[in-house]
Symmetry: C2
Subunit: 339 residues, 2 copies
């Protein structure tokens, strides 16, 4: 909890006649900060009411939890007067223990291969400000639900198609966390049992077909086996970015088209399964690859899903995410306010 | 709402000295009735407190909604004094409009191919008693959650493997219905995109592999194509019942074993997907085929699911359903009490 100012919580005394002058009232801080802690960057926003009043970003440091805590505190410091901050929310990658601020495991952050009481450490570094922590995809889903493309739906899945495929599930207006805190993992829903190997070791998961990394693995294998494609050349020595797929697609590259079609079909299967199981009226589709491939891709996913819906006349739409890169930080700010 | 007796809701007056005699208090009825309305039978129970005090059953009549309403009212009459009934709950097959008692479509009931205000019709036939209606599988899941194998878990999926594969989802202690009222359809989750044809017309659904009807279709096709099996002979002219699969399995029939293995693998894939998406700590497995194949089958499904779990160390178990044939009627009674 933020430190309460006594003057702000006292009941008002009955108005006296013609007070010569009012004492200045020290207001309780009303700005909240949201932090999106990623494997490569830390993005922070200060939010006052519904407005983002400041934004700052830096690279995520190597060196373990202490270095990361210091970097996050530093970025928050760049947003303005720390005394004006009522609460901080953080979206972090990996498994988060519900309500405790403990990051149990975050493979994308150096030194987070064991449980780290990140919320407590950051709160200490900030002089005692309340810190709430949740999974990065969950807070991004919360932001799309409350402020973005999910406004108006209380039962939606936000799907972020990037290197992997992440998801955040909103049911009855609340982000679903689940008893183990791992709900929403649409990327690891099976679309073809026994099928393509996923980065997690499983088989036939959505992420193996629709995640950038899975698509890159398939593209490199197919190219090695003799498929004619620009993808490998365009990627060069580096990783096969979303922009590479978009460019090859634009140039009529057949393998790129095939892989993107497979991604849309796999998304259609996973989303139709999700709708059958939990009954959703909307899917918000975003993430690096989703954003880069644009409306054509959204349309292809929408078609693939509709072809597979068990109740085809139930109201259901797929819409592009609205908040882009700031979804995580803005959702983290909502989390801070929620707690 | 049941008619309230004024004497039961008035606040007590302060005790007077030595009242010669108390007036007899007319009690509000406290018995609720649960009805499981199936395609072939109507099963009703009277419940007082936690006890089933009476049970009755008859065949579901042909002849459309009026005949069905009359039959249900008749079965309820067999349970005892209708004046003692405070409320009635009904589990009906098909799509039910949330909270209204309207059966929108129930392909297994003659004359229910359009919306039928079943709750209102039954209430009228019973002289105005409150009637609540929900999907039959949802109420069976509610019963297993509150009284059966689901006690102690607030996040579970009840799966009933019979002619088809039905499911009821309990999240945070509440049966999930969803915005279109069709949540829980685990039978139509895709386990192999583009795979075996399902009875609903879709492809690769769990029900195509693990439902009795789907297994029968495959068995007859395979036998026609030359596979050696007792299944067709055991079934004779009739349908290939669960007991036929159990008997063939017991006799070491290879095709029966193969089909049951496929069913377990498909269940493993669908359940692992469900756990990834919504995070569950328990699955309750029942239904005609599930019950008939017994613990061996449960063990096979448990193994197939665990091999596919995304977070394999999360607490998760599969247990046999506990309420058998009465799950639907008992759940309907709980529904009546809930409303």
């Amino acid at each position: 909890m933020p430190p309460r100012k006594a003057t702000a919580t006292k009941k008002r005394a009955p108005a006296k006649k013609a007070p010569a002058r009012r004492r200045p009232v020290r207001r309780r801080p009303t700005t909240v900060v949201g932090v999106d802690l990623g494997g490569t960057k830390v993005q922070a926003v200060a939010v006052h009411g519904d407005e983002v009043t400041a934004s700052a970003r830096r690279s995520t440091p190597a060196g373990g939890p202490e270095a990361v805590v210091a970097a996050v505190a530093e970025v928050i410091g760049e947003l303005g007067d720390p005394k004006a901050v009522a609460a901080v929310g953080v979206g972090a990658p990996g498994a988060i223990e519900a309500g405790t601020g403990v990051v149990q495991r975050a493979p994308n952050l150096e030194g987070f291969d064991h449980a780290v009481p990140f919320g407590a450490l950051l709160s200490e570094a900030l002089g005692g400000v309340s810190v709430a922590v949740d999974n990065d995809v969950n807070v991004a889903a919360l932001a799309e639900h409350c402020l973005g493309a999910g406004v108006g739906s209380d039962d939606l899945l936000a799907v972020f198609v990037g290197t992997g495929v992440g998801g955040g599930l909103v049911l009855g207006g609340e982000v679903r966390r689940g008893p183990a805190g791992v709900a929403g993992e649409i990327g690891h829903v099976i679309v073809k049992d026994g099928g393509r190997r996923c980065g997690c070791g499983g088989r036939g998961h959505l992420e193996a077909y629709a995640g950038r990394a899975g698509m890159e693995r398939t593209a490199r294998k197919r190219a090695k086996d003799g498929a004619k494609t620009k993808l490998v050349k365009l990627a060069g020595a580096g990783r096969m970015k979303s922009s590479v797929f978009a460019e090859a697609l634009h140039d009529g590259d057949e393998l790129a088209q095939e892989l993107v079609d497979e991604a849309a079909q796999a998304l259609g299967a996973a989303l139709a399964s999700a709708v059958a199981l939990v009954d959703l009226d909307r899917v918000v589709l975003g993430g690096g690859l989703g954003d880069r491939l644009g409306q054509h891709f959204i349309d292809a996913v929408q078609k693939a899903t509709h072809e597979r819906l068990f109740v085809p006349d139930a109201p259901f739409t797929i819409v592009p995410a609205a908040l882009g890169d700031l979804a995580g930080a803005r959702g983290a700010a909502l989390l801070a306010r929620e707690r």
